[in-house]
């Protein structure tokens, strides 16, 4: 390469800008930059003129104004006197809540359906195939509306629970399914260690995480022992104790009681009310996305070469250990990336909440706030910013995971 002489610079001709590969990409990029700049100028100019004509300006001060509307489903304190900004935060928390719940249940549905679809049982595998095809090929919006209709039009009204001739009764005397929502018992601590409820719950979570670490440590010790002696100690009972004993003790100390919903007047009171829209959205997203996850799981398991299973069997591993030590670690590498992008889809599809009136970020900031204040541009931009941040965080997690499980070759 170094022996090639540079062409003399003197005879630069204008046609070289388009015909010479050294300059061509530069030419194109300059043209592209000009086109982009022109279109941005054109759109921006239109925007400014339109805003001036409508007497508007871009300002985010409306976020501090009192919102004037109520939100039924909320995780933090909020009333109609609170600001639009706080309404948006309530919406964000609601989005995260339904996305989190739906991710868990969708994974459960998907894994069960995906594994059962590979079952030897002809009837079961066909049934799962029908489930997957039906749910994948019908829009999720229709599923959300169907389940919302079940929640509001089919379930009995609270008054059906009243009197001696009640037509409906509570499940286990603790759960009430009504068309105004589902009422479930609320755990309460009679003598919590901290004043604030949230700190008590935090303590519970800390204890559970501690148990997880402890049981992990027990597994590791067992593996070490096995490597030394060839005998694997039985760990199941010890692990069970590590999980249950601290938890039960904590509950005993804090005095766990259940606040059970009861019919008072025209409605139920007490317990936790889970609104119909939340359940409709949660359940619809779960079964819809579950069908997609089922396909990912099936593909992941089928992607593992049969030779792997046979080799493990030839080494003398039992079926359970073959699954745990050979098949699953490889299958997970195939399953997890699409699984995470399904989680991303759940988060984005949760914006359909607006169709059933669940107060997520799209319904608060992009719905009521937008209509009340008329601040279309600001609201839509903030909305996009939120979803973009969430998506980028999730895909970052995915990239980190992918890098950590990548096949390490050579």
């Amino acid at each position: 390469m170094s022996t090639m002489t540079d062409p003399p610079k003197a005879d630069f001709r204008l046609s070289m800008l388009i015909n010479d590969t050294r300059y061509r990409s530069l030419t194109f990029q300059v043209i592209a930059a000009i086109v982009i700049a022109l279109s941005i100028w054109y759109l921006g100019n239109n925007l400014i003129q339109n805003l001036r004509a409508a007497g508007l300006n871009i300002s985010y001060s409306f976020l501090g104004d009192s919102s004037g509307y109520d939100i039924n489903q909320r995780l933090i304190e909020y009333d109609s006197q609170s600001s639009h900004g706080r309404a948006a935060v309530v919406g964000i928390l609601n989005t995260l809540l339904v996305a989190f719940l739906a991710c868990i249940t969708a994974t459960v549905f998907g894994v069960i359906a995906g594994v059962l679809r590979l079952s030897n049982n002809w009837l079961v595998s066909k049934l799962m195939a029908v489930y997957v095809e039906i749910f994948r090929n019908i829009p999720v919006l229709i599923w959300i509306i169907i389940i919302f209709t079940i929640m509001t039009a089919v379930l009995p009204a609270p008054r059906a629970f009243r009197g001696d001739a009640a037509t409906s009764s509570m499940l286990f005397d603790a759960f009430a399914f009504t068309n105004r929502g589902v009422y479930i018992p609320r755990p309460e601590f009679a003598n919590g260690l901290f004043g604030a409820t949230i700190l008590n719950w935090l303590l519970v979570i800390v204890v559970l995480i501690g148990s997880w670490f402890a049981s992990h440590e027990i597994e590791k010790r067992a593996t070490l022992k096995q490597e030394e002696t060839g005998e694997r100690p039985k760990t199941f009972l010890v692990k069970l104790a590590v999980w249950l004993v601290p938890f039960a003790l904590l509950m005993l100390i804090m005095g766990l009681t259940w606040d059970i919903p009861a019919l008072k007047g025209f409605n139920f009171s007490g317990g936790i009310k889970v609104g119909g829209p939340l359940i409709a959205l949660w359940f619809a997203l779960s079964i819809y996305t579950g069908a997609f996850i089922a396909e990912n799981v099936r593909a992941g398991i089928q992607a593992i070469n049969k030779g792997q299973t046979e080799a493990a069997a030839a080494l003398g591993l039992r079926p359970g250990r073959i699954m745990n030590l050979v098949v699953l670690p490889q299958a997970l590498r195939v399953i997890i990336p699409p699984l995470i992008s399904q989680y991303l889809n759940i988060t984005k599809n949760s914006s359909l909440a607006i169709a059933v009136g669940y107060a997520d970020i799209t319904a608060t900031l992009g719905g009521i706030t937008l209509n009340q204040t008329g601040r279309a541009i600001e609201c839509v931009l903030l909305l996009m910013l939120f979803y973009l941040t969430a998506s980028l965080l999730i895909s970052m997690a995915m990239n980190i995971y992918n890098a950590s499980v990548k096949l390490k070759e050579r």
Binding site: S25, L47, N120, P139, V380, M384, S391
Partner: protein, 432 residues
Amino acid sequence: MSDQTTNPIAFVAEGTIPPSPPPANEVGVVKWLRENLFSGVTNTILTVLSLVLIYILLKNTLPWILNGVWNANSLAECREILDGKTGACFAVLTERWPQLIYGFKYPADAYWRPNLAFVLMLVALAPVLFFDLPRKMLLFTAVYPFVAFWLIWGGTILVPLVALVGFIAAGAVFQKLGNNSFAAGFFGAIVTALVIWNVGGALIPESASENAWLTAVPSRDLGGFMLNMMLGVTCVSLSVPLGIALALGRQSNMPLIKWVCVIFIEFIRGVPLITLLFVASVMLAYFFPPDSTVDLFLRVVIMITMFSAAYIAEVIRGGLAALPRGQYEAADSLGLDYPQAMRLIILPQALKISIPGIVNVAVGLFKDTTLVSVISMFDLVGMIRGPILASTEWNGVYWELLGFAALLFFVVCYGISQYSQWLERRLATDHR
């Protein structure tokens, strides 16, 4: 040994003994049942559970469907006919059929126009979907968008005609200049088309729409399943070329082009379609020139096209990445320039790999067209939730309507995915 030679032989087999039939539980239905349904305790439990599930489902739905009432004018009349028995009220489908399919404002005497457009669409799609058909049919496919536009929107025929002439002239210019330099042909074609459209648009008289053969129908009168089909077909066909361009741009080694494409794709993929539809309904109007009115249908088409183009671009990028490096190098060593290499060598292979993914995006996009009901366009779901369920006659007929919508979407989407599987088998050129 000696025993055998001295004693007379008692028995000699004179032929082969015919094989005895396999035991009864190893043949036919019984064997199949034993192997596939009752091979073990767990399997038997699963089978019984599935049977119970199927029984419950059928017991609850079959009488409802079979007892269905198909002729009535309102829910009350339906209930009278049923007289306390369980049964569906499918009469809502027959009575509101035009509304479900065409929306509630499309002129009734013009229903033949979308019907004809739909039939012609099948004809136009045929040569694209099945390449055994004569290639000449593609000519009709090229003309179809203009025919369909004229049929559905009506008005003067001059508008689609001018658009068509613009495209034909652009094609001719590209043929002439594109032989020497792709860029020259490309930009020449764009300029030609713009000139013809502007000149032609100015020449169409204002009164042309009034005495047209087909009465003009404004976009806001479109609705029902027709709207879903129109959005789906238009946006998919527009987003494939845009997606290819974005995918190539993302692979480009010009940093500016590459980063513009990356930012566009990642931004679109990061936000839900609903927010983009909000942009279409409340925000996009701010970016058009102050005195122009761009109707909602066009704004929605723009946003959905951008949305699906970003996803298709990612699918095609996967196809491009799957091609061995040698293909690119081979194209270079043959002396092909970039457009030639892409058109003749890279894209045909990359697109073949991407077909299943593109079809997946198309199915997803078609399902997502129902979201337009959120920004108060009356597509199938919008019609059901709005005018039909809110009417006094049909207030409360949920399952028949929602079931019908679900069935329509299922038939179309399942059909497309079956086609894609057929195409994959058809295109498989490797020997297995």
